[in-house]
């Protein structure tokens, strides 16, 4: 390895191990992959930040329809540009890891699906979500009528307090009935 500055300090490593759901190997691998994304001059900054485009070039995220939302949710940047520090990156991997709890996963899934960031999933969010799920090609999109029916059915099923939106509790309630959410909400480097 050329640049030794990209090695992780031992105390930081153990701290990350305690605070996230990642194992030691996963953190080291994450660090390696993160360093590869950094440009040469960024490597010497104490807390470097990788722009969103670079993050989206990761093969695990490249074809994911939710990639932009994922970057926005985990980014702690003040400019809301979706750029990630290493700690944000670890947060991302921790939420998507094998051992993360259902609560964490559902919390972040909710935030990812909340396209307009207003704290609830209203009709617009649901429509964007369904469009992401069904793909970009015209052949697979739902018709307007089907979309309308789908959204009204979803709200009927999951909106318990009948306010027209799905908030976090209602979302977590729906998730708890599905046996394979935990296994599908995973990204492994």
């Amino acid at each position: 390895m050329g640049t030794t500055a990209s090695q992780l300090r031992k105390d930081l490593l153990s701290e990350y191990q305690e605070l996230t759901f990642l194992t030691k190997q996963e953190i080291i691998l994450a660090h390696k992959r993160f360093s590869e994304l950094l440009s040469k001059e960024d490597r010497n900054i104490p807390t470097p930040r990788v722009p969103m485009e670079k993050v989206l070039s990761l093969p695990e995220l490249k074809s994911n329809p939710f990639r932009k939302r994922i970057c926005h949710v985990f980014s702690t940047s003040d400019m809301k540009d979706g750029s990630l520090t290493f700690e944000d990156f670890l947060d991302l991997l921790s939420a998507f890891s094998d051992s993360a709890t259902l609560e964490i996963k559902s919390h972040y899934a909710f935030r990812i699906f909340d396209f307009d960031d207003d704290g609830t999933l209203d009709g617009g969010d649901l429509e964007k979500l369904v469009n992401c799920l069904t793909g970009e090609t015209d052949g697979t999109r739902l018709t307007t009528e089907e979309m309308r029916q789908l959204i009204s059915n979803i709200l009927e099923e999951s909106d318990i307090d009948k306010d027209g939106t799905v908030n976090l509790s209602e979302f977590q309630h729906v998730i708890s009935r599905s046996p394979d959410f935990v296994s599908s909400f995973k990204i492994v480097l």
């Binding site: 700690e87 704290g119 979500l129 789908l150």
Partner: protein, 833 residues
């Protein structure tokens, strides 16, 4: 995932109170906000909030002034008429900016990075709970109460103080927890890593410089954790069997869940058969193969037909019952020293291991059936639990939308496939929901009666025909047996299986015709009727055959000229299985191909051939029933079934893919049943149905016949492990008695056996206890259902309260706003009229 049953309801109640209290604080803050904005406008106090409100309000004012009186009149009218509708939705229609701000700052509504305060307060509650109850609160999900977010509100000094106090409270709570709990709590908080680092520094300030991981963790909890990890890993590997994963995903994506459930069912059956084969092979076939008994060498010509008929050299092989000895194998002696029929002579060598073949036979079959039964009942109840819903929600669209995206797929092609899959399923679900809303029109009763009478009549006549044909075949066989054994005579053995398979093939076609004639509107009803008719046919055929084998042949084997009736029955079952498979292959390859030509040429319809799921599944169940019936007589029959299932899977898959290749359209990529392509159906509860069909008629019938054989039929005296015994289960009885005489310490086992198995009182007691347990469980489920509906009502009322307050807020704002514009509408409080 099953809804977790928690007998201790008080924590839930307590949490409800907590959440209500939380709601109160939110409502308090809302009232405060209203008061503040009200007074702010009047007194003009320079709060940042008020400035924002004023600027946005002036913007609102301009906008409303632009579209003047008409809009306001409209608004008033609409508001009155739509008030009921608007109170149903708190969406962003015509709310003012302040209302929107209050809406967005509602505790139930916002999650985000600035929501530290509420996440911390929630974690506070949870850590207090943890301290109080000393147990994990992972299952308890409170509504997350994130704090003010959006609209760029700067944190007030008040807010900062509040956050600090909450944080300090959380830190105190954390410090009072045990180390492991602390770490787990921190990990499970949905905060950013930077925040967690800060909290950790504060919470662990008493243990500065010491990493928690290296601190003393009690070894028993560490052991427990590692054991848990290992167990979980094993279970995970076992349960997510990677067999055919790729192929199944492709099939599911192209053809929908109905067809996929068929292939999943093949996989389930394969697993059952592998289990049967392994157990039988290990405990039965292997010991006998290592120490083969001496048989008189039979002079049979080796023709290829033996493979199909199971006669000839196969009849004296490991395949069939007759091969197995009725003695104990002693492992220390070599095969060359073995004398005829008996063991190697008794030696008093204590290191010798004796393996009692009849006992092994009896117990192996018994235990495999027992375990298969338990696994079937367990998987049936689990699958039933998954498809059963306590709520009144129809369908699982929401679950599909929220949970079905697999984030692990990274290749572009797989992502596209997944999208396709999801679209297909969504369309299926939507059409089912829509279809349920349509009213079905009533078909004529006469048509139904006619169809049912034709179906039942044809079943009856088919069964009768098979009965007569079987009798005839046996007479024929007797005549043949007196003469020379020739190829034609051997081939005649395949006649009965052939006839039965023909019946199995043609009659379902007739049933399909009937259902097309009846023209059901609901595809589900059509499917159930079709399944019932096919099931009746198969049950009657198998019933007739069992009667023949167990009732006639086994009772009087000499009359039918058989020395070893068990081997004969085993061979019959083997032949049935093979011929059934051959007919299926022929039907798949030629039948569907010919039908496609017919449909395209004569009927001039470019419709894809229909994959009749019900019929195919029942064929699978039929094959599996034959296997289970035959395990007692043919220990290697599961191996044949395994090969058959493997070939069937690949054959059906390729035939589906080939047939759909030409006319594949993305929207109509559903293969439907009952020839109604306009009305696709969803097979979500299909797997439950298949497993219950497998369990109840199929496995139960096989168990009953095997039990009947073991308990009441006299085994043949010339062959097999149970020769010279009055009944097959006497081997177990004899062993128990031997045990009593040789080893008095184990005499209690015999006593237990006589008490449990032979005493009916114990069975009644057990039955009574089971019934009581079931009753208690149903009462608990009832009670929980009531609680759930009460809580739902409560939540709806809370929602109504919320809507009421928001609309009041909006009304107040509008009243305050309009006096500032030149053309003001009359206010209830204003001086103008």
């Amino acid at each position: 995932m099953a809804y977790s049953v928690d007998f201790n309801l008080s924590p839930i109640m307590e949490l409800e109170l907590e959440s209500l209290r939380g709601d109160d604080t939110a409502q308090d803050s809302m009232c405060q906000l209203i008061r503040v904005t009200g007074t702010g406008l009047e007194s003009g106090s320079p709060k940042t909030l008020e400035m924002d409100v004023l600027t946005t309000e002036s913007r609102d004012r301009l906008a409303s002034q632009m579209s003047d009186v008409r809009e306001r009149a409209d608004e008033r009218r609409l508001q009155r008429s739509e008030e009921s509708m608007q109170t149903n939705l708190l969406v962003r229609n015509r709310w003012s900016a302040a209302t929107l701000r209050v809406l967005s700052s509602m505790p139930s509504r916002s999650v985000g990075q600035q929501s530290r305060l509420e996440i911390i307060s929630q974690c506070n509650i949870r850590s207090t709970q943890l301290r109080r109850y000393h147990r994990q609160t992972k299952d308890v999900s409170l509504s997350s109460r994130p704090s003010i977010r959006g609209y760029g509100i700067e944190a007030d000094s008040e807010d900062v103080c509040e956050e600090e106090t909450k944080r300090q409270e959380l830190v105190n709570n954390l410090q009072s927890l045990s180390a492991g709990d602390r770490v787990r709590m921190l990990r499970a908080m949905p905060l950013s890593l930077a925040e967690k680092t800060k909290l950790r520094k504060l919470a662990f300030s008493d243990k500065v410089g010491q990493s928690i991981l290296s601190s003393q963790v009690p070894c028993c909890s560490l052991l427990k954790r590692t054991l848990y990890h290992i167990l979980f890993g094993c279970l995970f590997i076992l349960s997510s069997l990677q067999l055919w994963q790729v192929a199944l995903k492709r099939l599911g994506g192209r053809f929908g869940t109905g067809v996929l459930s068929y292939f999943l069912f093949i996989r389930t059956l394969l697993l059952f058969n592998v289990f049967l084969f392994l157990i039988n092979g290990l405990f039965l076939v292997l010991p006998q193969a290592i120490h083969p008994p001496l048989h008189t060498p039979s002079s049979h010509r080796v023709t290829g037909l033996e493979l199909f008929t199971g006669t000839g050299y196969l009849s004296n092989s490991l395949m069939f019952y007759g091969y197995y000895t009725n003695s104990t194998i002693n492992t220390s002696c070599r095969p060359a020293e073995a004398t005829t029929g008996t063991g190697c002579g008794t030696t008093s060598d204590p290191h010798m291991m004796a393996y009692n073949i009849p006992l092994a036979y009896f117990f192996t079959i018994g235990i495999t059936f027992f375990i298969t039964g338990i696994v079937l009942v367990y998987s049936m109840s689990k699958s039933f639990g998954r498809s059963f819903r306590v709520f009144k929600s129809q369908g699982n669209l929401a679950i599909k939308i929220f949970c079905s995206w697999d984030f692990k797929v990274s290749k572009k092609m797989s992502v596209r496939l997944q999208s396709e899959n999801i679209t297909t399923q969504l369309k299926e679900l939507l059409s089912e929901v829509k279809g349920g809303e349509e009213k079905g029109r009533l078909s004529g009763m006469a048509v139904h009666l006619l169809a049912w009478s034709i179906s039942l009549g044809s079943t009856f006549f088919c069964a009768l025909g098979i009965h007569c044909f079987a009798k005839d075949m046996h007479l024929r066989r007797l005549e043949d047996a007196e003469g020379e054994v020739s190829l034609v005579h051997e081939a005649r053995l395949l006649a009965l299986p052939g006839v039965v398979s023909c019946g199995n093939l043609l009659l379902p076609g007739l049933f399909n015709l009937m259902s097309w004639m009846e023209n059901f509107n609901s595809p589900i009803v059509c499917l159930y009727v079709s399944i019932f008719r096919n099931l009746l046919l198969k049950v009657s055929i198998l019933g007739v055959l069992c009667y023949h084998w167990l009732g006639k042949i086994a009772a009087e084997p000499e009359q039918h000229g058989l020395q070893c009736w068990e081997s004969f029955v085993g061979q019959e079952l083997y032949r049935f299985l093979l011929v059934d498979f051959i007919f299926t292959v022929l039907n798949t390859v030629f039948g569907e191909f010919i039908w496609k030509l017919f449909a395209q040429g004569v009927l001039r319809r470019r419709r894809k051939p229909v994959f009749d799921i019900a019929r195919n599944v029942l064929e699978l169940i039929y094959g599996q029933t034959l296997t289970w019936l035959g395990v007692l007589f043919t220990p290697l029959l599961p191996a044949v079934q395994i090969l058959k299932l493997l070939l069937l899977f690949h054959m059906k898959k390729s035939s589906l893919l080939v047939n759909s290749l030409v006319a594949f359209l993305p929207q109509s990529s559903l293969l439907v049943n009952c020839q109604a392509p306009r009305k696709p159906w969803r097979a979500s509860q299909m797997s439950t149905l298949f497993i219950s069909l497998l369990c109840f008629p199929s496995f139960l019938g096989a168990t009953v016949s095997v039990t009947y054989t073991i308990w009441t039929i006299k085994p043949s005296s010339g062959c097999g492990p149970f020769r010279n015994l009055p009944f097959m289960f006497h081997s177990g009885k004899q062993w128990a008695q031997e045990l009593k005489s040789t080893n008095p310490k184990l005499a209690w086992l015999n006593w237990v056996h006589s008490c449990l198995v032979e005493n009916p009182l114990f069975l009644f007691l057990m039955g009574g206890v089971f019934l009581m347990v079931i009753y208690i469980h149903t009462q608990i489920v009832d009670g929980q259902r009531k609680i759930i509906s009460l809580l739902q009502e409560q939540m709806e009322n809370e929602g109504k309260d919320k809507k009421f307050l928001i609309t009041r807020l909006q009304a107040i704002h509008e009243e305050r706003q309009y006096p500032l514009s030149p053309s003001s509408r009359p206010q209830p409080q204003g001086s103008e009229v």
